[in-house]
Amino acid sequence: MTAVSAPAGRIVVDDLSKVFRGQVRAVDRLSFTVEPGSVTGFLGPNGAGKTTTLRMVLGLVRPTGGRATIGGSPYRHLGNPSRTVGAALESSSFHPARSARNHLRIMCTVAGIPLERADEVLRIVGLYEVGKRKVKGYSMGMRQRLALAAALLGDPAVLVLDEPANGLDPEGIRWLRGLLRRLASEGRTVLVSSHQLNEVQEVADRIVILNRGRLVRSGSIEELTAGTDRVVVTSPDVERLQAALADERADITRTGPNSLSVRGLTNQQVGHTAFRAGVELHELVAQRSDLEELFFALTSAPSDPQAPPPGGGPA
């Protein structure tokens, strides 16, 4: 398998913008980096600008501003891109009357790869038995697998996959997770977009969250969820409790006439503070924030990178 030195497979998106004619900014000054040897989840609701960003990375859409590079070069300057970058963009880029095998063989011919490689990648994605059938008879899931096969054709160090789990059944999604993990463990760069967090949550090392064309957050899952754990506390004397907690430099949100949401303290610390202040407590609950909630909160609010992480909204 291809040994990859760090910068060779690194994707750098630098201040990238795209304004389609007569439309709003599809992508707005977006910057992030994707490192080799990891799976990076590219998340955002539908219409967030994920596909446009990936297409700019791949040289299909011309940026209005900024630039995107793979291993230091813009995509259009890569010599024989299939050998460096494998991309699966949509499951419909096939001639319906052509067989999967022939589709891949055409790609082999362009890239100067032996034609036998077409059968190899069909085996990897589990389509070998049906590879000689015309694509028009394929299900959505089979087309996704074919798109993946095409991406793997040149044994590339970088994989860019747009919503690869769409149309896959649960078994297929599990298979895809295993494949992505294996590809990353081989040192490849894997960038995978999704509008569904649970699809990438278990497989991604890092996550880039996009909303309305802007970067909302990026980092490892641990980094993103850190500091979002909360303690919900209920007391008949909520004002005095609030004052006592404020002395502990906690981040406090009033969530009801008798309740507070506290961030930055453990429930033991909150309980201890209440005890010392002599405040009666009726409820003391630690709430672990999960990524799903974070994702919804980050992408439903107007995007602002400076905004604090979500506190006690209705979750």
Partner: protein, 254 residues
């Protein structure tokens, strides 16, 4: 570039369009020979033979078949979005367009060859039965055959360039056929405007394939000389292809 051209041939071979258009080419060639010899005013002397062998390339339906082949060669990729993997593998629009131009010019030669073989297969026995000798050493017959190959090869590029310019398959095929079959002839019927006709694709074709008789098409409209016809057809082949590669093919692929 060799890989790209080989891939273009493979793209064509793995679908069926080429076969039906080739069948139509052979069928049309035979029909043109029958139509050229059978009627009372058909070929009766050796002097009429060159035009018979030029008939496929000189007829609208003939060069339109290869025009359509070229149009499909690029617009099918946009219709089925295979243009996405094509450009992912070959980011240079110029390289893709050039490979396609070479491929469809070569294909044009192939189609012209099939047309010629079909015509010879029918015409030679028939003409010899009428005691009309066909002399391939005759310069006018050579002119008709070589000119026919050139015209059809160039029309592969005309179609390809037009397809690259328009991108939309249905629009490109319909507009192309209407222009080549109808508008060009309407042009010829309008005074003053008809002076432009020699510079249309058909005007170029007729100038290239003209071997005998008058150069006057209608009142006051004369065919260009051979060289002029070649230049006209080359422009129709390369100008749309170059504009297509530079602008149309370079638009965002979304």
């Amino acid at each position: 570039m060799i890989r790209l051209i080989r891939a273009e041939f493979l793209k064509l071979r793995t679908t069926q369009v080429w076969f039906w258009l080739l069948l139509a080419t052979a069928g049309l060639s035979v029909l043109l020979v029958v139509g050229g010899i059978a009627p009372r005013d058909g070929v009766r002397t050796a002097r009429q033979v060159p035009d018979l062998f030029a008939s496929f390339a000189a007829s609208g339906p003939g060069y339109i078949l290869v025009f359509v082949l070229g149009v499909l060669g690029v617009t099918t990729e946009f219709r089925y979005q295979t243009i996405t993997p094509t450009f992912l593998q070959t980011p240079s629009r110029w390289a893709v367009t050039t490979a396609k131009m070479i491929t469809y010019a070569v294909l044009g030669v192939g189609y012209a060859l099939v047309a010629l073989i079909a015509q010879l297969a029918v015409a030679l026995p028939w003409l010899s039965a009428r005691n009309i000798s066909v002399d391939f050493g005759n310069s006018q017959i050579q002119h008709a055959i070589i000119g026919g190959f050139g015209v059809i090869a160039l029309f592969g590029i005309v179609g390809l360039g037009f397809g690259a310019l328009v991108r939309n398959q249905i629009v490109a095929v319909v507009v192309g056929i209407i222009f080549l079959l109808i508008i060009e002839n309407v042009l010829l019927a309008i005074p003053v405007v008809r002076k432009a006709w020699p510079f249309t694709p058909n005007g170029g074709v007729q100038a290239i394939l003209h071997t005998t008789g008058t150069t006057e098409v209608v009142d006051g409209v004369h065919l260009l000389p051979l060289g002029g016809g070649i230049v006209v057809l080359l422009l129709w082949a390369f100008v749309p292809a170059i504009i297509g590669a530079a602008y149309s093919m370079n638009r965002d692929i979304t």
